[in-house]
């Protein structure tokens, strides 16, 4: 039996100076072992049920990717770097490949570009469905969450068919993609899936996005204005919810996006609800993009660059230089800065995850004054992905 006073006595005997309690507020550890945070921790100073001060405590998922990438061959890094963003691992693959493509001066074949675009859009849809699930779980509408996760499985099956893995696809490689599209059947299946999810969007609207209580829960919390968002480097849907019409797919077009027709949702409120609705609309747009791509059909040609240097992959070298590539991920602007010194391994790879901007300073500031019940909602509405903060 250990009583409290014994603990204190023991600590004193060990020569520990116990600082006096801060009695006006209390400390609350939000995460990492908590349902609302994925191995991410926020230390909250609370007053009643209001947050007085929030300190983001990242680093639970740090594995030193940028260091490890410097010791692996150029190609191998694909298998490593995609672990930075677990919900949509195709994004790190794509940006790294695009940067290496630029360094190599490769003109990626059209078919490969088309496949990359399809994969990226599928990743976006699956990521948004995953996010919908998270939002549903955090708000307490488990129904929406369960459906979203179940419908996402259809995309997972398609990914599996295409790439050979469920989550870590390791599919987009410098110079193209690893495999060709399996068959026309796969394209038909993708079309069916797009139709199916499009059909089910109404259900999500009914139970989640048009639910009265969802609106009550989300409106007016975590409000950002335009200037704040730009200063803090907020990107992606979070920025669009503050009234900035910005999308990397439009501003810095890559792959097939210049040829596609889609709309950018922009809302001015900048609160959690606006962020959620922007994401909701983008999900619809992504399905629309996929439809367009399928209508276009895959261009004929090779699915990767034909280059003699690709014969001996472990000793594959990239000319010295640097390149930056970024794409619009569901969380925001995902960028890779790759420096080569002409060797068989990258000299420096820096992955710019959007969450590092959203998850530290923005979060700390948005949480001040929020209720404890709002914390998971704000966290979810920012769409953070802790591994890309920690890298």
């Amino acid at each position: 039996m250990v009583s409290q006073s014994e603990l204190v006595k023991e600590a004193r005997e060990n020569g520990m100076e116990l600082l006096p309690l801060d009695k006006d507020t209390y400390e609350l550890f939000f995460g990492p072992q908590h349902m609302a945070t994925e191995n991410f921790s926020i230390i909250l100073k609370m007053d009643g049920h209001r947050v007085v001060k929030a300190i983001a405590n990242p680093g639970f998922l740090h594995r030193g990717f940028e260091k490890l990438a410097e010791f692996r061959p150029w190609y191998t890094n694909i298998a490593l770097l995609l672990r930075i963003c677990v919900p949509e691992p195709d994004v790190p693959e794509a940006i790294y490949s695009m940067a290496v493509d630029e360094l190599m001066g490769w003109e990626v074949p059209e078919r490969a570009q088309w496949i990359r675009t399809v994969v990226l859009e599928m990743a976006r849809v699956s990521s948004y469905l995953f996010w919908t699930m998270g939002l549903g779980f955090k708000l307490g509408v488990y129904t929406a969450g369960q459906w979203a996760a179940a419908y996402r499985e259809r995309l997972m099956a398609l990914f599996e068919e295409l790439t050979g893995a469920r989550v870590y696809h390791i599919y987009t490689i410098p110079g193209g993609v690893r495999r060709d599209i399996p068959s026309d059947k796969w394209l038909r299946q993708l079309k069916d899936t797009v139709e199916y999810i499009k059909d089910k969007l109404k259900d999500f609207d009914n139970v989640l996005f048009e639910n009265y209580i969802t609106h009550r829960r989300m409106e007016g919390i975590g409000v950002m204005d335009k200037k704040f968002a730009l200063d803090e480097g907020v990107t992606g849907p979070n920025l669009r919810a503050t009234g900035v019409a910005a999308d990397v797919r439009k501003l810095d077009p890559y792959l097939f996006y210049p040829e596609l027709d889609f709309e950018i949702p922009v809302l001015k409120e900048g609160d959690a609800l606006a962020r959620a609705l922007v994401r909701r609309f983008e999900l619809e747009q992504d399905l629309y993009i996929l439809e367009q791509l399928l209508e276009m059909g895959p261009p004929s040609g090779a699915y990767k660059v034909q280059d003699p240097r690709l014969k001996a992959l472990p000793r594959f070298k990239v000319p010295a230089g640097e390149a930056y590539a970024h794409v619009e991920a569901t969380m925001g602007d995902f960028g890779a800065y790759v420096v080569s010194d002409g060797g068989s391994k990258p000299y420096r790879v820096q992955i710019r995850g959007p969450s590092i901007a959203h998850g530290i300073r923005v979060l700390e500031q948005l949480l001040v004054g929020a209720r404890i019940a709002d914390v998971p909602v704000i966290l979810m509405s920012l769409g953070n992905c802790p591994p890309d903060i920690d890298r």
């Binding site: 190609y75 298998a79 893995a165 870590y168 639910n211 019409a245 909701r280 609309f281 992959l313 472990p314």
Partner: protein
């Protein structure tokens, strides 16, 4: 805001949703619909044909070039010298392997391959964890197990470096491991002797 660029912005009323008390009730319609659950283990799952599962190795065509070992991001592949084989063969450690199958891609003779089997579950005991570290067997021996499980039931370590792979249907493969590394073990021994 953006200079010289036209961005198609969605009309705000399309993005915004109107809150409702009535619409959520619509979702009750799924109460009497069939669940989407796959009832594993009573219902088999269909997974992709070329799912990146366990490796296979054609021992005849493997030339022991160690390309696989070099490309492996996890350094899961170790070249193993087996008695009776002229060239070393890769030994794959599934405690390291990330199933990226880059090794399969780079294999110049297509000796390394993979099957869609992916299930390997063991008790955390040293003798059972041996299963995680094996020299892949030829495709025909692995592929006959259609329940997506790892083909081996257990790996027995016999005396003086001999190992016996017991497949799940009782078939056994026995061979003797001479050593590891790129250089033949005899050379290595000689080197050590020299050093000594």
């Amino acid at each position: 805001m953006i200079m010289g660029m036209k961005i198609k912005v969605a009309p705000e009323e399309e993005v915004k949703k109107r809150p409702s008390f009535i619409k959520p009730w619509m979702s009750l319609k799924y109460l009497f619909k069939k669940p989407v659950t796959i009832k594993i283990p009573y219902e088999p799952t269909q997974i992709a044909e070329n799912y990146r599962g366990f490796h296979t190795l054609n021992w005849k065509t493997c030339i022991g070039c160690n390309m696989c070992g070099q490309i492996c991001p996890a350094r899961a592949i170790e070249m193993t010298w087996i008695e009776g084989e002229k060239r070393p063969h890769p030994k794959v450690d599934y405690g390291r392997c990330t199933f990226c199958q880059f090794c399969v891609d780079v294999c110049p003779t297509n000796a390394l391959g993979f099957v869609s089997n992916y299930m390997l579950t063991t008790v955390w005991k040293d003798e059972e964890l041996e299963l995680f570290d094996w020299v892949p067997l030829p495709e025909e021996k692995v592929k006959k197990f259609t329940d997506y499980r790892h083909p081996l039931a257990k790996i027995e370590k016999l005396e003086d470096g001999k190992v016996r792979y017991v497949l799940r249907d009782g078939e056994t493969v026995e061979f003797k491991i001479l050593g590891y590394g790129l250089k033949p073990p005899k050379l290595q021994q000689k080197k050590e002797e020299k050093k000594a």
